[in-house]
Symmetry: C2
Subunit: 564 residues, 2 copies
């Protein structure tokens, strides 16, 4: 509905509720700052020009810019519920996110989508949803759900559902797999965007991927891939996550011609990084420090995403749009003094000042905890009588691994650790056991229910007793992260929502993460890499070279499980 | 449906139907030309790279660019049926148009929309429709139809209907008129674009117009208005019509930041101009000659309109999109050698070579001819006993007029002509009679059924007999243009479709227009301006200063009819 009152304010016939006086307002379309008043009424922008307001905010010497939009994020990586996520992101100037509940959906299927859609109605952050396209991520592991086109379709028409999320199964797209194409065609029938996920410099792959209708991609890591991605008409989502950082590598690709096609996203970002380094605001700040004009960086952080996703009500400080805006005192350093969401002050100087939203009710289908068959020492036996055993070689701070080998007779728990994946969705009793090299901790075990993308229970340790204790503790706390030594739990972070999200405030999450870090350090970890983040990617069978699933060690290059 | 065959061609696993070899292919996203092959299959682009084709087109030294899109056009100004319009535009490199049947709809209401939608299925040109938002244009005249939101809505969901056409009633928008807002809200419910029509440098007007959701505007004539238009988030449609030419004035506003927000349109362009000067191709050529980079001009002529209107299948030479493309031998001069529509050759060196489409059936509601009550000499009497009579003062080549006056006793047919508007939709018998000054022709009358926007019969002459003859002839030929002298018809162009469109090939239309020009010349017209085009705007009561409707002389500044 068009507000007649808003029109009256715009015309100058009615006093605005709120006027920002004398700031430099970002004109997101011409790329300049205009020194003018800005009137806000009923949560929306009424206009720039000379306006009188019931409340006047002095903005002399300050800049007004639109709130930031994260074009692709898995909120699961924050380990926070949407209400906590909302406050943290608003404190950083992000006023809208396009979230793909890929992780929760691998546990709970479409209940995860309904959870986010329900949460979106209760939090001040504007949360939009892309339907997860790849549940499960592969056929090589056991996830909690299988989502086909017909499972997704009932939610595709929802207002807050913007499209189909990252299509990671790019081989399936390129080869024309029927089940994959059915999902693309379904989303296209709703005229909603199709998000991609492919990193290659192979022209033919991009041609086929684009020909199938994929419209965006956040997976490019090299300038060559990014240029080819743009050439093929896919929007370039430049990503700066916690594990995967592409901003510096990709910014040189952005030019005056393709600027409108580029946007920012975080994909996966941990809560401590968001809190201390920042979110999209960090990307804007870092871009400016790398020589990008502030106007360009702000546009990639706001308008471009809004236009791509058809979010007509945001992305620029323009009459009729939501008054999602940031008051900035230093543009080059992007010092954000205040954050307004729909005209309401939500944060000052990085601290959330908004109301604390009600907690988000869980759909019935998400009240189920872990469902793993109990394991015993017998499940953890490795056949060291074999002449040669495969070993996952950790490359610090990478999600790829080396495929190494060791003679059965040479296996020891000084150089290696056992790695164990226990299926936890259907109590199938599937247990994969193997060897991994590169962890520093000793006399203990670590365990996690964050294990991309099926999120089975993954454990690593140098003795079976601690591995079993870690397994039992994870079951007791309904999932999370745990460090065990000598049969005792040294530290833990319970993640009772799907084994992925905490139900506590983000300060507590951060504190628990720090205690986990100290606990592994006490076991000899040298801090060369984050052991839990490494653990989280060891069960992802699409990333080379050697991984492990609940069905055993997996040779990614040969795309098959190894006999053991 | 995604074509698996197209994917196979893209991958390189299947030979393409058509390969354009060795040309410089426009990368519409990065803004560069890439020397590469381009594969086309099933009418769509399969990819750039190394490809083999069943047919190979040698493009060495040539440029491949996307077909042009006219972002806003009234095909009625071409006076041609869609089949003829299609061939003429394709010969000029325009492969898609966004047409607003505002003129035909003022005669036939929604039947005009159905006519275009039906035609679109039969012609090779891709014709999209914006629903006419302002029928009638004003309350001050009698049109053939009245279209409210509820009349428009049944067609808003149609695939080829892209949105709501130019909202000329900007005062209604700004003041929050209920019937106007209802139309905007209706289109917004369908998530379709709302096109505007306003030329002002008043900030508050733009603020209210944008706050109501208007998204584009082709009416800006000054750089100041255009900049303000962009600042308020409205896409800038730069227009170059036959009467209204804004290209040169507005190009300086386009910069690297707002480039993606700008597009080209013709609005109203006569057939001879299209044929001899060009269409969107002319705008591209002229822009380049004015110093705009060809890459920028091409983007405004293609991709930007496609993105604005959500036409995902065109606007760039990108895998999956329609193979609507131009082979250009000289980029600076934009010499278009060949035009392909969906991979089919349609024109070479400016000549249409495509198939001639079947003629377009008229909807029942459009088979009605003129419906004017006969007029007699008594209807044409002017009260010269009055002390002072108002006179429309023609300003050559402008649509605005001067409000002049003459003493009743001083009225003569040397200096003045009678101007007469006869209502022709409902046989109401409404006749407006007044004086006009500025026509050169003598001893005769001219008449037309093209009279913006209600398209009543408008006649001008220096004697009643010729005016009556012109009226009768127009009725006989079911509308058109006519020149009469001494009771004889000297020349005419029948426009039997709504009094607006010819049913003849465009060569014949052009020939008839030339004969009309020679006929008025034989009556003393000095060619200072086009008398028919001037006549067509004398009954448009929204353009200052003095106009005439079927209800009499109309003072635009006071917005009321004058007593006579």
């Amino acid at each position: 509905m068009i507000s007649k009152e808003l029109l009256a304010v715009a015309r100058g016939d009615l006093r605005a509720e709120l006027v920002f006086r004398g700031g430099r307002v970002f004109d997101a379309f011409n790329g300049v700052f205009v020194e003018t008043d800005l009137a806000v009424h009923q949560g929306r922008i009424a206009g720039m020009g000379d306006y009188e307001g019931e409340t006047v905010v002095d903005c002399q010497g300050k800049y007004l810019i639109p709130g930031f939009i994260d074009a692709h994020v898995h909120l699961e990586s924050s380990m926070m519920t949407p209400d906590q996520f909302s406050g943290l992101l608003l404190s950083r100037g992000t006023t809208a996110v396009v979230a793909d509940p890929h992780e929760l959906a691998n546990v709970y299927g479409m209940h995860a989508v309904d959870y986010l859609l329900g949460a979106a109605e209760r939090i001040p952050l504007d949360l939009f949803v892309m339907l997860p396209s790849c549940v499960p991520a592969t056929e090589m592991e056991t996830a909690g759900a299988v989502l086909e086109a017909e499972d997704l379709e009932p939610r595709m028409g929802a207002d807050r559902v913007l499209g189909l999320g990252e299509m990671m199964n790019f081989p399936g797209v390129i080869q024309g797999d029927d089940r994959v194409l059915a999902k693309l065609e379904m989303a296209d029938r709703y005229r909603k965007p199709l998000d991609g996920h492919m990193d290659t410099t192979d022209r033919n792959s991009f041609n086929a991927y684009a020909a199938a209708g994929i419209e965006a991609n956040h997976e490019c890591t090299t300038p060559e891939a990014a240029r080819l991605n743009l050439e093929n008409g896919l929007r370039l989502m430049i990503r700066e996550g916690t594990a995967t950082k592409n901003l510096e590598a990709l910014l040189p690709v952005v030019n005056e011609f393709n600027l409108s096609q580029c946007m920012f996203c975080t994909d996966d970002r941990h809560p401590d990084h968001i809190r201390h380094e920042g979110h999209i605001d960090y990307m804007v700040r870092r871009s400016i420090s790398l020589g990008i004009r502030p106007e360009w960086a702000i546009r990639m952080a706001s308008l471009n995403a809004a236009q791509f996703f058809g979010l007509k009500d945001r992305g620029a400080l323009q009459p009729g749009k939501l008054a999602d805006m940031l008051v900035v005192s230093d543009l080059e350093r992007l010092e954000i003094d205040q954050v307004y969401k729909s005209g309401v002050l939500m944060a000052e100087h990085g601290e959330y000042t908004g109301t604390v939203p009600e907690s988000i009710p869980l759909p019935e289908g998400m009240k189920v905890g872990l469902n793993a068959r109990p394991i015993t020492r017998e499940d953890l036996v490795l056949d060291t009588d074999r002449p040669v055993l495969p070993v996952i070689g950790i490359i610090p701070n990478e999600v790829v691994t080396r495929h190494e080998e060791v003679a059965g007779a040479a296996v020891n728990m000084e150089d290696f650790r056992k790695i164990v994946v226990v299926e936890r969705h259907h109590a199938s009793g599937n247990v994969g056991v193997g060897l991994i090299r590169g962890f520093d901790f000793r006399n203990g075990a670590i365990g996690s229910t964050i294990a991309h993308d099926s999120h089975n229970i993954v454990l690593a340790g140098d003795n079976d007793e601690d591995i079993l204790t870690a397994f039992e503790e994870l079951n007791r706390i309904r999932g999370g992260l745990v460090v065990v030594s000598g049969g005792k739990v040294l530290a833990e972070l319970p993640l009772p929502i799907g084994g992925l999200l905490s139900d506590r405030p983000y300060e507590e999450v951060e504190e628990a993460l720090e205690k986990l870090r100290l606990a592994v350090e006490s076991l000899g970890d040298r801090g060369r890499f984050d052991p839990f983040m490494t653990l989280a990617f060891m069960a992802l069978p699409v990333i080379p070279e050697l991984k492990i699933t609940d069905r055993g060690m997996f040779d990614v290059m040969a795309f098959r499980h190894l006999d053991q």
